[in-house]
């Protein structure tokens, strides 16, 4: 089985007015062919940044990659030239979080899709692009493909949709368009950053089902970011649990949620209100200070199962059972 993505020891810092935020601290992640990998964690734990590093859209100039490898299809993305990096972006589709702000308001849906396609067809050359834009033949091919992907996401009247502006569409419709946009270039990997968070609950289910369908149909791999454990269970084969820029636990989703090993994961799972009416426990403490993260295990300040030297050095990810990794002294 191929490994589509291998991220190894990724460390990223963000420079801000108040200081340097150490957002990612040695992250390891793997996505195999055909599987959907989930990343769960609280807001700010580094899920989005990991995805953005993969996509190549980290905020410049404030973001700095200090160390690590990001391998996609056996090439280290961080070491590629600018041109090659841009070429790789074709193969990764991005589904952003907020459909209301993710579509450029002054262009029609058709305009955005066709443009994206013609750019791909022009092999990253600005000159070829400007030339081809004017050719009717090229435009027709692009339009056909655009109609095709719009159909794939079950949009009722694709032809009419081409001429619409984002402001004329509802949230759910816009999200569909965004999914279509991610599929338009025949990607190998889809990266979805909490795509259903900004939608109504009923629409969420529909979109989720659509995504699962497409991933299966097109035989794609996926990286799905969410803070909703229920969604993770529905769509992710394996799930990573992140906290304060580190990976705490990895496992097959069902196993992870039914039998969490790491104290943090256990806390997360227990926080979900249950239908039986038991009151749920939260996790004490507050979010990490990213300016001066603790030296040892990041979760140390809030952990209720602290051991002697948990704050001395960070525990490594150990394979506790086949396919399950935990980063915790309890399991060493």
């Amino acid at each position: 089985m191929h490994k589509i993505v291998t991220i190894h020891n990724l460390t990223v810092h963000l420079a801000t007015i108040d200081g340097v935020l150490k957002v990612l601290n040695g992250v390891d992640l793997e996505i195999r062919e055909g599987e959907v990998v989930g990343i769960v964690g609280e807001t700010g734990c580094g899920k989005s940044i990991t995805a953005k590093t993969l996509l190549g859209i980290l905020p410049t100039p404030s973001a700095r990659i200090l160390s690590g490898e990001v391998n996609f299809l056996n090439k280290n993305l961080l070491k590629l030239s600018k041109g090659e990096r841009q070429m790789m972006k074709h193969k990764i589709g991005y589904i952003p979080q907020d459909p209301m702000t993710s579509l450029n308001p002054v262009f029609t849906i058709g305009g955005i899709l066709v443009d994206s396609l013609i750019w791909r067809m022009s092999n990253m050359s600005l000159i070829k692009y400007s030339y081809r834009r004017r050719l009717n033949r090229v435009k027709r091919i692009a339009e056909e493909r655009a109609l095709e992907v719009l159909g794939m996401v079950n949009i009722p009247d694709p032809q009419a949709m081409l001429g619409k502006y984002p402001i004329e569409l509802s949230g759910g419709m816009r999200q569909r368009v965004l999914i279509a946009m991610s599929l338009v270039g025949d990607p190998v990997l889809l990266v979805a950053d909490e795509p259903t968070t900004a939608l109504d609950v009923t629409i969420q289910k529909v979109i989720l089902r659509l995504l699962i369908e497409k991933i299966e149909e097109e035989k794609l791999s996926g990286l799905y970011i969410t803070h909703d454990l229920g969604v993770a269970r529905a769509i992710c084969n394996r799930t990573y649990v992140m906290y304060a820029g580190t990976v705490l636990e990895v496992a097959e989703t069902a196993a992870l949620l039914d039998n969490p090993l790491h104290p943090y994961t256990r806390g997360l799972v227990n926080s979900i209100p249950k239908l039986s009416g038991e009151s749920y426990e939260g996790i004490v403490g507050s979010v990490t200070d990213y300016f001066n993260p603790p030296r040892g295990c990041r979760f140390y300040p809030r952990c209720d199962k602290k051991l002697q030297d948990c704050d001395r050095e960070r525990p490594k990810l150990q394979e506790v059972e086949p396919g399950r990794f935990v980063s915790c002294k309890l399991f060493e």
């Binding site: 007015i17 108040d18 200070d289 300016f291 001066n292």
Partner: protein, 284 residues
């Protein structure tokens, strides 16, 4: 958590903003010069009606750092007094324009309806003519003198503050704390003065700083054209206009006053920009 308070953050930002800091230092220097003009100027009497033909048109040198003009007056001293005049102009204009403009703007925004329409329409009519032109016309109407040009500029300037205050009042009016006060039964005057006004202080300060520079530009332009101050007043615009006749050989009586105007306005702009970042407001 290492979050500093907003004010401290603002101060750090301002001091890190080297141009703003430089502008601030410059501004303070200029203000000092203006206030202590008679004591700083090497030849204070040259600011007035003095003739010294034997010294006329000497180039910059040790006895006259910036040279002398065609009547033999020390350029440097005249510039120092000119700075005082320009700064007073800016001060008077703002002192008149801000209260009037802000008051009218708050009224328009707060009361809405008929009052709003009347005030804003009048402002719009005034806005249709560029400030320089309008001030020129007014100066011409009132009669040509420095005082009249100052009044003319003040008359033109209130409209900008009116519009600013109007916009701010409109948005502040919607804020919760205003609604709460109103429901307790606060009087109109109380609401306008105590609730709305204090919350628009920062954009007004930023605009005032930037406008001070702009008002000086307009003032000197009016004088340059001959519609404002007239000789022998050491007004910077007049000095440039007058000395024009002696270009290019005798360049200093014309060049230095203009350069001074640039430096004054520049410092206002630098500080104003820094303040804009400091307060985090958007002001055109």
């Amino acid at each position: 958590m290492q979050r500093k308070t907003d004010f401290v953050r603002g101060c750090i930002k301002f001091s890190r903003n080297r141009p703003a800091l430089a502008g601030f230092v410059l501004l303070v220097t200029i203000l000092t010069i203006a206030v202590f003009a008679p004591f700083i100027a090497p030849y204070p009497e040259d600011a007035g009606l003095v003739v010294n033909f034997s010294d006329k048109l000497t180039p910059p040198g040790w006895s006259h750092l910036l040279g002398t003009d065609e009547i033999g007056r020390d350029v440097l001293s005249r510039i120092i007094f000119g700075v005082r005049i320009s700064l007073s102009l800016a001060g008077i204009v703002l002192v008149i324009a801000i209260p009037v403009g802000v008051f009218l703007g708050i009224c328009a925004g707060y009361f809405g309806g008929g009052i709003e329409q009347v005030i804003m329409r009048v402002t719009d009519v005034f806005l249709a003519i560029p400030p320089l032109v309008f001030a020129l016309v007014l100066s011409g109407v009132l009669g040509r003198s420095l005082q009249h040009s100052i009044l003319a500029i003040a008359f033109v300037w209130w409209r900008g503050f009116c519009r600013l205050a109007y916009g701010e009042a409109l948005s502040i009016k919607q804020e919760d704390y205003v609604t709460v006060s109103r429901s307790i039964g606060a009087s109109h005057l109380h609401l306008m003065l105590k609730e709305i006004l204090p919350n628009m202080v920062s954009p007004v300060i930023v605009k005032a700083t930037l406008d001070a520079g702009y008002a000086i530009l307009v003032g000197t332009a009016i004088s340059y054209l001959g519609v404002g101050a007239s000789p022998p007043t050491p007004e910077l615009g007049v000095m440039v206009a007058h000395a024009r006749n002696f270009l290019p050989t005798y360049w200093w009586p014309s060049l230095f006053p203009g350069l001074t105007i640039f430096v004054i306005v520049l410092s206002f702009n630098l500080v104003g920009d820094g303040l804009r970042d400091f307060f985090g407001v958007e002001v055109t």
